[in-house]
């Protein structure tokens, strides 16, 4: 295809992505280096027989003018990045100096909103991703051994948790685990503890969110692995059987290696999606016990006075996190494209 033809074919989609992804991105970066203007103060000295006093009043006209001249706000460099609500360098250094033990240091980091959110986000990513792969694989193996007619039915029902809007899916589970809901009161019955509530403690809230995450994403892994299972080479399996491999050994040594590119694919998608965990925190009203990076951005924007600079700074830090997560993939793709380097 000629360059010129390519250009015209690609122009509409390129325009959409430049105007509504690339430009907002640069705007977010620039917002993160600017803070709203302070009000311009007029300081005047008023002298009377009893002495002189200074009085400051807000100069509305000058403030408006300043806002008009520099709509981005005042340049503050990395100040927002290092403040208490973000990377909090000063506080972290203080905690480190006054630490009694390493675990004490970690738990004092928990008082800083950015590190608290980072802690939950990373835990969520690290726990949910492997569990999704494991459950997806087991479900795929189990369903694959069913009768033909049952398979279609299983695929239908398995798709539901994944396809349903995350906020709606988490609300449905939220109502069920409510102390008055069927799962919540069932658990109280089982542990014979009438005050047991999954929403009350941080640990149980985290477990709930992680269970939701696995429930929501396992179907995706299942579908991908299930499709992969249809292409497992029969000859290899047969020869493994002849060599006396048990069922378990066949799965470990033949099926899993065959699926390994798919595992990498599922892991990549899951890392990206789990890192943005957000809706379940809203759905489960869990923000008192668990916050994520996306949730802090949302919270800053949702304030009465929208905290754009703060939200933008967290956004930039989140994007840096995403890029770090993607790095291995980008490097691999680069190597595949440039084999001699």
């Amino acid at each position: 295809m000629k360059h010129k033809t390519f250009f015209w074919f690609f122009l509409p989609t390129a325009l959409a992505m430049i105007l509504f992804i690339a430009l907002p991105l640069t705007s977010v970066v620039s917002q993160s280096f600017h803070a709203p203007h302070d009000e311009v103060l007029l300081v005047s000295e008023i002298c009377d027989p009893f002495g002189c006093e200074t009085e400051s009043t807000i100069d509305h006209q000058a403030t408006e003018q300043l806002k008009k001249d520099q709509p981005l706000g005042k340049w503050v460099g990395f100040e927002i990045y290092t403040d208490r609500n973000h990377l909090a360098f000063k506080e972290v250094a203080e905690f480190w100096e006054n630490r009694t033990s390493f675990t004490g240091f970690i738990s004092s980091l928990n008082n800083l909103q950015f590190y608290r959110a980072m802690g939950f986000t990373l835990t969520y990513v690290i726990v949910v991703t492997p569990l999704v792969i494991l459950f997806g694989l087991i479900i795929a193996l189990a369903v694959n051994s069913l009768h033909r007619h049952l398979k279609g039915l299983m695929v239908f029902f398995s798709l539901l948790p994944m396809i349903v809007t995350p906020l709606v899916g988490s609300l449905i589970l939220f109502w069920m685990i409510d102390a008055r809901g069927i799962v919540g009161s069932g658990l109280q019955e089982i542990f014979s503890d009438p005050n047991l509530s999954l929403k009350a403690s941080t640990g149980l809230t985290w477990v709930t969110l992680i269970v939701y995450g696995v429930w929501h994403s396992a179907p995706f892994a299942f579908i991908v692995f299930y499709a992969g299972l249809q292409t497992v080479p029969k000859e290899t399996l047969e020869s493994a059987m002849i060599d006396g491999a048990t069922r378990f050994q066949q799965v470990i040594h033949v099926v899993v290696p065959h699926l390994s590119p798919l595992v990498a694919f599922v892991a990549l998608i899951q890392l990206m999606d789990n890192f943005r965990v957000f809706e379940p925190i809203v759905g489960f009203s869990a923000s008192a016990h668990a916050t994520s990076l996306s949730w802090i951005i949302w919270n800053d924007i949702g304030q009465e006075i929208r905290l754009f600079s703060s939200a933008a700074t967290t956004s930039v830090l989140t994007i840096i996190g995403v890029v770090i997560l993607l790095m291995p993939v980008l490097i691999r793709t680069w190597r595949e494209f440039n084999p001699d380097k």
Binding site: T13, A16, L25, L171, I172, I223, M241, F265
Partner: protein, 293 residues
């Protein structure tokens, strides 16, 4: 699998059936439970004393004389004007899917037919854009939208959703077009067609399976979006998902949880039908990217 030829031991067979049954319950039961419960009163839906009340609806009977009531739906759809949110969602989804398919088909086709180096880089950039959480972009949208006075409107949100959809749709259609042999449009060009004529006369007739699959996923993205629609739409233009979220704030206190339950069930039903009719396309779409590796 071939191992089926040798009979499984009974224990393993039972284990498999047990596991499948368990997964079936875990995956599907919450939906049916909530659907059933949405026709009850709150005291039955949340029945602390005896969970069987939620099934029989004893208290619903006491209030309405029947064990089913549409009161939650009436409250949500009429009193709280959920129909408005439903209409908005329909408008947003329709135009988002239409626009993103149109421009991504052209773009994806061009990417799949161009062997130049920049097409690789464009795909990588799209991958990075796909990985960005949409909420990180939102604070970049608001100031200009306020300034131009376009905040809160449906068209603004549609355009933003189209753009956010692009990277994913582009990847999907790119890998679909690669499965259509190049010789097809090459030979049309040899016969004297321009590239666009070749696309129109040769590619368009055969591209529908891929386009339908991509359309389903861009529909899901628009339908399920919360972060963008909740921030970019004003009260009157809210779509279903942010509307449900705002129910949570207002109705929980007023004791109208059943409105929210009815709204949640109403928003699931279209998705249910979607899976019912397009199961095959959804599965093929999920695996399309994977098989390519």
């Amino acid at each position: 699998m071939t191992s089926n030829q040798i009979k499984r031991p009974l224990g393993l067979q039972l284990l498999i059936y047990g596991f499948v049954l368990l997964w079936l319950i875990v995956a599907a039961f919450p939906f049916f439970w909530t659907m059933w419960g949405s026709f009850k009163v709150e005291l039955d839906f949340f029945s602390k004393g005896d969970w069987k009340h939620a099934i029989s609806g004893i208290r619903t009977q006491a209030v309405y004389g029947e064990s089913f009531t549409g009161a939650g739906y009436e409250g949500a759809w009429i009193q709280e004007e959920f129909w408005r949110a439903f209409l908005n969602t329909a408008i947003v989804c329709f135009f988002t899917v239409l626009t993103s398919l149109t421009i991504a088909t052209l773009g994806g086709y061009a990417l799949s037919r161009s062997g130049f180096r920049y097409s690789f880089w464009l795909l990588i950039i799209a991958l990075v854009f796909r990985a960005l959480p949409p909420i990180t972009l939102v604070s970049g949208y608001l100031p200009p939208f306020y300034a131009w006075n376009v905040w809160g409107l449906l068209p603004t949100t549609i355009i933003v959703l189209v753009a956010i959809n692009q990277p994913f749709t582009l990847w999907m259609l790119h890998s679909f077009f690669q499965t259509i042999p190049k010789e097809l449009d090459e030979s049309a060009k040899v016969d004297g067609c321009t590239q666009f004529q070749a696309f129109k006369n040769v590619i368009i007739p055969v591209m529908w399976p891929g386009v339908i699959t991509a359309g389903l996923f861009s529909f899901l993205l628009a339908y399920n979006d919360f972060a963008v629609t909740a921030v970019l739409l004003n009260q009157d233009n809210q779509t279903m998902v942010p509307k449900i979220a705002s129910f949570m704030g207002t109705t929980q206190t007023e004791g109208n949880v059943m409105f929210a339950v009815a709204a949640v069930v109403s928003s699931i039903i279209p998705l249910f039908l979607l899976v019912l009719f397009f199961q095959r396309q959804l599965v093929s779409g999920l695996t399309a990217g994977a098989v390519k590796g």
